[in-house]
Amino acid sequence: MLRLSWSTFRERGQLFVGALLTVCLGVALVQSSLLILLAAATGGYVEAITLLGMTLAIATFLAVFIVASTFAFTVAQRRRDLALLRLAGAGRSQVRRLLLGEAVLLGLLGTGIGVPLGLLVQRAQTALLTGLGFVPAEFAVPWRAWIVAVSAGIGTGVAVAGVLAASRRAARVRPLEALRETGAAARVMTASRWFFGVLFLGGAVALAIVSSFAGPVAAIPLSINIAITASIGLSALSPLVVPLVGRLVGPLLRGGPLGTLAAANLRDGVRRSASTAAPLLVLVALLLGLSGTLTTLGAAAEHELRQDVRADLVVTTDGPPSVAGVPGVAVASTELSLRVPLTVTTVDDGEVETDTDAAEAVAVDPADYQRTHHRTAAEGSLADLRGHSIASGEHPLGSVVDARIGDRTVPLRVVAVLPDSFAGADVLLPRALVPPAVAEHAPAHTLVRLDPGADPARVAADLGEGRVQTAEAWVARAAAQQQDTSAGIMTVIMGLAGLYTLIAVVNAVVIGAAERRREFAVARVSGLGRGQVVRAALVESWAVAAIGLFLGGLAAAGAVAGIGAAAVRSTGAWLVGVPWPLLAAVVAGACVVVGVTSVLTSLVATRPRPVSLVGAGE
């Protein structure tokens, strides 16, 4: 049986290479993300862990999704071969065993290539992380020998899982299908497609609702989850959309023969079209969903900051500036940014549990703070922020947390609960708690309100020390910085994963066209020129790309909807961020990549003289 696998695969080189490629890239990406995450966790690079966790999650999801959809597709492409086997006396279980055997073979081969490839990917990922400043330059990722076993497990596991459903379907192939030229396009919208489609789509909607209430805290992981769930749901349901798009293509080309052919091919090859669209769908969903979420978060933060600040000038310094006595200054609120580990101790059934989280803290003078900010406490009062006290968005009023400031740990009582915020710090502390040695080096900004009639330029010049900006410019700068961070996050999470998905998009187009040599040949002996065949295939692949873009956009919209609703509710402004430049780039990029791939592969597929393909029985 394995020999049969081997020889059929060798025959269909493109299917083989395509399937293998998805496995080894998937293994490489997951292995690299896992090793880097472990290195960050053991090395104590706390800030990077969340980000790397998301990177690993996305890499794993993509490996499973892409391998599964590619394998299902290759099995569908070989329907006729499998029917022939059935005709020659193969039982259902033999067909299944054949496909599973192939999957194991591909999984092991993919691991063999994927493990060394993973080291290259790891180098690229580490370079990205250090380059963007998420980890310091000395960050090193140690090799762990056991990862080979894990990678082998991932490789074969992903391959076998990918082929499992497809093999069950393939085993139901009827022998008679071997005799039909264009294998009776079995019902594509199977019960399981409906089931998973509706289930995951429902899950995505539920997550979007959760996200609209969870607010900014968990927005990024939630949006990734929504994009993923919606992608699965929509790609399961995508065969429903294919015929609709097919109906649009004909009239768009004003009923020309190529449009008619492309539309007919779309209708006929619903499964192929849906499979080709799947990787593009998930790429668009993740890319636009994540970027839209980050844009929304940024826009909401900027809006909130602008609403909050009641100042004319902002002085940025390292350590507190001396603004006292500068003429024209009515109020100056100096605010120090610190990272403060907070420990919450709970006693549960006599067991003492402690939970430590690093919080972004801002140390303020409460009176000055209140006079330069509109924001007030949701519960309690910021005026009480004196002595051993803290204002927090996450701890209940009156509870006590242990804060480590400098080299001291101090117990602090929560005197105010901060409202949900997109922009602000996690906690506020009284500045008196910060020892001078720490304060001296902490990044500080000082919000300055001027006396009525004072000349801002004069005062700015008098403030001298540090960097003085108008409050407006300061807010804009903060927003720009936020955007840079967002771009960094996007690059780390989606950089290599996006590349993997893009390769899968190309792969799907190549596999799809390679299997159609005979079909193309038939079209040519029916009177179509080679150029016309290539153009019809191009139109068809663009239509498929449009399906991927449309459904991916839909999933992305779902991913942004939750946090968008939260932003609208919290700020009262319409702040749903649509990343237009990225959207345009994705649409253009998809058209170019899919178009070029389709033209090249159909040129290659139509190179043999048509007679040689039409005449032969096989």
């Binding site: 049969l4 020889s7 059929t8 060798r10 025959e11 269909r12 071969d81 022939l84 086997l85 059935r86 005709l87 020659a88 006396g89 193969a90 039982g91 259902r92 033999q94 009827r174 022998p175 008679l176 071997a178 005799l179 032969a616 029985g617 096989e618």
Partner: protein, 257 residues
Amino acid sequence: MTAPQDTGTAPRRADLPAPAVELRGASRDYGSGQARVRALDGVSIAFAAGSWTAVMGPSGSGKSTLLHCAAGLEQVSAGQVLLSGDDITTAGERELTELRRGRIGFVFQSFNLIGSLTAEQNVTLPLRLAGRRVSGKQVRQVLASVGLDDRRRHRPRELSGGQQQRVAIARAMVTRPAVLFADEPTGALDSGSARQVLRLLRGMVTSAGQTIVMVTHDPAAAAAADSVVFLSDGRIADRALAPSAREVAERLARLEA
């Protein structure tokens, strides 16, 4: 030589051996509602063991459908199908797989060889699928019987149409099936190759008593068989015992008129 018998509804006498294949009132419908087509309409026919029967008729008259139903590739909508006396009308997937492995063989117009396998591998495939050991000698013998022992290592695309069809026949015969079903086996061949294939089939009938049911629309091919059944609109319209090619052509022309 035994002619196919229109068994009708009359009970068969108990002392006769069971026919190799028998259809009793077999009907087959495709589609539903307005688009319903009755491809086979209450056909009763028995193919005696050791006989070679040609099935003829205009295009769309239900020849392939009859063959598929008789071979268990397709289920009849009504009626019964018997193979050596066993009712396979409602046989399950497992049973049908067993049938394909041992008791029936197929040959089709489009050869249907597996392109990635050599002639030899194609021929031994049914045996290997059935989990039987295959000796090199046996393979050579089977290929030699179709005159292709020097083409063992060739792939289908390196063979002519006639050679491919002979590989397909060898593959069908390697399990020594009780019945060989052939759907226009000469349909895609030039007349020389076609004659060679027909000679091969004739040899199998006379030397080994092979039962063959062959659909064709080539009068010359039909004349090579022991008897001919004519189908029209899914019903048996006519039959002839060892007719000449000219007779067959005339009857066919009458049906098509």
